[in-house]
């Protein structure tokens, strides 16, 4: 079978770690999709739950709030990875429950 466990951990550590230009707590909040103020709250919520509705205005609002393009890039990446991570982890928990942990 495939083994993404190490690569998954490394990806999450990279986007939440020291390589970012946005403040670490802001990237963590984007990853968790919680604790952000507008306009980032709307942007992150859309990326996590309705990414098809992210608009140029959402990006412009984040830029107008003082974020650089690189910081917007990082916030969007953290939001996407955070939501996919929660879904993945939840599904693995459901699988463990179905198999009694023998996966």
């Amino acid at each position: 079978m495939t083994d993404i466990s190490g690569l998954h951990r490394e990806l999450v550590a990279r986007v939440l770690g020291s390589k970012g230009t946005a403040p670490p707590q802001q990237r963590r909040a984007a990853f968790d999709a919680t604790g952000l103020e507008e306009p980032l709250r709307t942007l992150v919520d859309k990326v996590a739950h309705h990414a098809q509705y992210v608009s140029a205005d959402d990006i412009s609002a984040a830029r107008a709030a003082g974020l650089s393009e690189d910081q917007v890039f990082e916030i969007v990446v953290c939001a996407a990875i955070g939501q996919a991570d929660r879904q993945y982890t939840g599904a693995l928990t459901a699988l463990a429950a179905a198999t009694g942990g023998a996966t």
């Binding site: 079978m1 495939t2 083994d3 993404i4 690569l7 998954h8 990806l11 990279r14 986007v15 390589k19 970012g20 859309k46 990326v47 996590a48 739950h49 990414a51 098809q52 992210v54 140029a56 990006i59 393009e69 690189d70 917007v72 890039f73 990082e74 969007v76 990446v77 939001a79 996407a80 990875i81 939501q83 996919a84 991570d85 879904q87 993945y88 939840g90 599904a91 693995l92 459901a94 699988l95 429950a97 179905a98 198999t99 023998a102 996966t103």
Partner: protein
């Protein structure tokens, strides 16, 4: 592409590589490649995606490409639907199978284990609650726990990629460019 840095903010060696890709492929560089090559020390999910899509698995490459397209459809990502439909079609040499699966999973001409697995992936991607009963429904048609974990890895990779494709507004490349990309993905993978 919504952020200018993703279009033209790459470092010089990467810009040279993008130019080579343009010349060799004969097509504009697709936005997925521009994203993958932008600050790989920060995002750089290529290795994870490659392992999920090309690592050892009881699922075929075509099955996993179809899973990627199915997840992309659940999160409404036109770019990823087109890219991975093209790659799955090329692998199976069967456009009708891929089209039918995305149009109506219940009647698509695919094996039951793949159908149940796609149904589970679609439910997760659509953010519906998933529990042990959902997993038992997949196991009951003969899918192994290892196969489910492999499918969930595809779901993770494309849960990320499809969201980014939408958020950054990836241009939908021409069918010719998508087919060229599909050939590359089958030849070289995602690294």
């Amino acid at each position: 592409m919504r952020l200018q840095i993703l279009d033209c903010g790459h470092r010089l060696p990467t810009k040279a590589l993008l130019a080579v890709i343009r010349v060799v492929s004969g097509h504009p560089v697709v936005d997925a490649v521009k994203l993958a090559l932008y600050r790989p020390d920060f995002y750089g999910a290529g290795a994870l995606t490659h392992e999920a899509m090309r690592g050892p698995s009881e699922w075929s490459v075509g099955d996993r490409e179809l899973m990627a397209a199915f997840v992309a459809q659940a999160v409404e990502s036109p770019f990823c639907i087109a890219a991975h439909s093209a790659t799955s079609t090329l692998w199976f040499d069967d456009a009708a199978k891929v089209t039918a699966t995305l149009a109506d999973l219940d009647t698509a001409p695919i094996e039951e284990p793949l159908r149940a697995t796609l149904r589970m992936l679609g439910k997760i991607a659509a953010e519906q609650a998933i529990d042990a009963d959902d997993m038992r429904a997949v196991l009951d048609v003969g899918v192994t726990p290892a196969q489910i974990e492999d499918a969930l890895a595809v779901g993770l990779a494309f849960g990320i990629t499809a969201r980014l494709a939408n958020a950054f507004d990836f241009d939908l490349a021409t069918p010719a460019a998508m087919n060229a990309g599909a050939k590359h993905l089958l030849r070289r993978g995602y690294r």
